[in-house]
């Protein structure tokens, strides 16, 4: 069976130890976590975990069942293959010497990014987008020398039906 990336959206009780239960489940059973993003929802008693994991359909079935089995997990949705909106935020600290500055700004402009901090010889840039867009800009910026990078991992929501 072929391995595939899956984007899971998990609603959990907003309680101490819940993330540890989920992380422990993945490490204990040898599942992979590619990225993980956790924050409160509109209901402060509930948090949403958005997770990218990898596995074949057999493993994914177990992952979803095992997550559902945890007492604090309210709902597990696999957004893979469904219509969803996904975004990731990345902060990039990049070498920005005088001769490169104009070129870097052009690239950022094309990707609708922003320079959020400037120094003598660096820029810190913020970009949001889906995973492909992030990969594309990182490829373009790499030659200038990326000093540091922070990514949030994907967050996503299912797209509702547009008509009423």
């Amino acid at each position: 069976m072929t391995e595939k990336k899956h984007l899971l959206s998990i609603l959990v009780e907003n309680e101490p130890g819940v993330l540890s239960r989920i992380a422990g489940l993945f490490s204990g059973r040898g599942y992979n976590i590619e990225s993980l993003c956790v924050a409160e929802t509109a209901d402060p008693l509930v948090s949403r975990i958005t997770m990218v994991t990898i596995g074949d359909s057999f493993i994914l079935e177990q992952i979803k069942k095992q997550l559902n089995k945890l007492i604090n997990v309210i709902k597990v949705s696999d957004l893979t293959g469904l219509d969803y909106v996904g975004r990731e935020l990345v902060l990039i600290k990049i070498n920005a010497k005088t001769e490169n500055r104009a070129e870097i700004l052009r690239v950022i402009d094309i990707f609708r990014g922003q320079v959020v901090d400037v120094g003598q010889d660096h820029y810190t840039i913020s970009i949001t987008g889906d995973t492909e867009k992030i990969s594309a800009i990182l490829n373009l910026l790499k030659p200038f020398g990326i000093r540091e990078l922070a990514r949030t991992g994907s967050i996503a929501l299912f797209r509702e039906n547009k008509s009423k």
Partner: protein, 562 residues
């Protein structure tokens, strides 16, 4: 409303949940709870090691079908419970473990006897709690009992900081628990069951395969009805023993690594397998690629994660075993036109022939054979005893040569395989079933792992009988060394073993010994009829092996026979 302390609330809630017996060991941070305990009519059984407390609560739960409860202190008291908790978790046994914790303001400071027991036990509990505010205590206890006994049962731990047991709050018994994130499916999908009935009607060589789920959901009557009506033979896992009468002609014996020849062959050749409350453990399936390859497999389980975990199944059915079998029986009754007796005759004859050509067997000569001791015990106790076991050869021989006609009679650590389980579990079972004969079938290795609980048995006059099949070896490991490691008996020979008769006497119990086959019966008779706890030391054949045996990773049809 009257204000109660945390300790008082704990006692009230235990009463509310119908608890009358708890197993425990006091210590610094649970002093207030023990002080309160002394003012109640709860029976507290003081064990000699916290591991013993958990196994005893576990044995109590398995024997009575109620939730077992234990109470220990923080730090080492709490860590000593871990093996017991993992044992109960693997076998889905409902127990509640209360651990003391350092005061909330000291948590995280590496205080004296502090350990993060909630963190440590997360992977081996069904759920666990750290109670930080006394206001949440009653609700937490209510939830814990609900979670432990519902769905697929399991252990739940509640960590109680010292200040929570002292501080006061208004107490009211909480309403029934409703958890939005926990709702086990009890009633199965009827459409799935209709498909199952169609398969049963079509099958020529069907087998029912039962496990611990049948016992936990008390589905034994429904199972017997199904098997007898459809004339389908039944095999079971170690955990399933007693779920179907062990003396019924349809019973095939246990399957798997030390299963009977006819059970393993039936499973390998069947065209339909109805798996009820099992999880297809590797000790049962052997090589999964060659497990029941000709069969359409139906799997009934209340825990969706058990389904399709190790083995691909044709029809998954999520539901409680009892309710599901009840519904299945109704469906079959509705269109009961088939003559199953006639239809399965050829298949049942074939199985009968397997039993005839390759039965469980041993050869009793001049040295006591361990199998003989268990057969004699079965005879003398008329199959009515509650049997607990340790782990290893003693456990396998007990499962092969004692026949269980009722659930709750065979109490053994199946999943985790915990040596040292049998004696404390017997203590717990006896506490719950005072009028029953409770026998721990042990080896000379495993009995020494929790031998201290002899003192508990004597103190509370819990008249457990311990049978030691004394071969001077860690028998099962030695057997593997004999068969697969060129008889290199690395660290499996006990060069020094205590005199178990004197040891029994030192504890204030009765000690008996048999060294010749002709002494077996009289020692058993004397032991069983003694009023208090007894250790019976049987000096048995040192290098006897458990057969049949399927080497690890081989298909279960490839058995080593005697």
């Amino acid at each position: 409303m009257n204000k109660l302390t945390g300790a008082q609330i704990l006692m009230q809630m235990l009463k509310e949940e119908g608890v009358d017996t708890i197993f425990g060991y006091p210590g610094g941070v649970v002093l207030d709870i023990y002080d309160e305990l002394a003012r109640t009519d709860l029976r507290h059984i003081l064990v000699r090691h916290e591991q013993g407390a958990v196994h005893a609560a576990d044995g109590y739960a398995r024997a009575t079908g109620k939730v077992g409860v234990c109470l220990v202190t923080s730090g080492p008291g709490a860590t000593n419970t871990v093996t017991g908790i993992a044992t109960a978790y693997m076998d889905s046994i409902p127990i509640i473990v209360f651990t003391g914790q350092v005061p909330t303001k000291l948590i995280g400071n590496d205080a004296f006897q502090e350990v993060d027991i909630v963190g440590i036990t997360r992977p081996c509990t069904k759920h666990n709690y750290l109670v930080k505010d006394v206001k949440n205590l009653a609700k937490t206890i209510k939830e814990a009992f609900h979670i432990a006994r519902s769905g697929r049962p399991g252990p739940v731990l509640i960590d109680l900081p010292k200040d929570v047991s002292i501080s006061k709050t208004n107490f009211k018994v909480p309403d029934d628990v409703e958890l939005r994130s926990y709702n086990p499916t009890y009633v199965p999908n009827k459409k799935q069951l209709e498909k199952v009935v169609a398969l049963i009607k079509k099958a020529k060589k069907p087998v029912i395969f039962t496990g611990g789920g049948v016992i936990l959901s008390k589905a034994h009557k429904e199972l017997a009805e199904l098997a007898k009506k459809t004339k389908i033979p039944v095999t079971g896992t170690l955990m399933g023993l007693g779920g179907f009468p062990g003396t019924d002609p349809l019973w095939l014996g246990m399957l798997g690594m030390h299963g009977t020849y006819r059970a393993n062959m039936s499973v390998s050749e069947c065209d339909l397998m109805l798996a009820v409350g099992v999880r297809f453990d590797d000790r049962v399936t052997g090589k999964t690629d060659e497990f029941a390859t000709d069969a359409k497999i139906v799997q009934i389980d209340i825990d969706p994660t058990s389904i399709q975990k190790n083995i691909q199944v044709a029809i998954p059915v999520v539901g409680d075993c009892k309710i599901t079998l009840e519904m299945l029986n109704q469906l079959i009754n509705k269109e009961n036109t088939d003559d199953y007796e006639q239809k399965h005759k050829k298949w049942l004859d074939k199985i009968k022939n397997w039993k005839h050509t390759t039965p469980l067997a041993y050869n009793q000569k001049n040295v006591i054979k361990p199998q003989y001791v268990i057969e004699k015990l079965y005879e003398l106790s008329k199959g009515e005893a509650i049997i607990t076991t340790e782990v290893g050869q003693n456990q396998m021989w007990a499962s092969q040569y004692y026949h269980f006609n009722q659930p709750g009679r065979f109490i053994s650590s199946g999943g985790l395989g915990t040596m040292g389980f049998g004696l404390p579990a017997a203590v717990g079972a006896q506490a719950g079933m005072p009028d029953k004969l409770v026998v721990d079938i042990a080896g000379d290795g495993s009995i020494q792992m929790n031998i201290q609980e002899m003192a508990t048995a004597v103190q509370y006059n819990l008249p457990v009988k311990i049978i030691i099949l004394n071969n001077g070896f860690l028998g099962m490991v030695r057997q593997w060394q004999e068969l697969f490691y060129d008889r290199c008996y690395s660290s499996t020979k006990f060069v020094h073993t205590p005199d178990f008769v004197k040891l029994a006497e030192a504890y204030g119990a009765v000690g008996l010994r048999a060294t010749k086959p002709k002494e077996v019966e009289s020692v058993l008779k004397k032991g069983i009829s003694s009023p208090g706890p007894v250790i019976m030391d049987f000096v048995v054949e040192p290098e006897e092996c458990v057969y049949p045996m399927v080497p690890a990773g081989a298909p279960i049809s490839k058995m080593l026979l005697v």
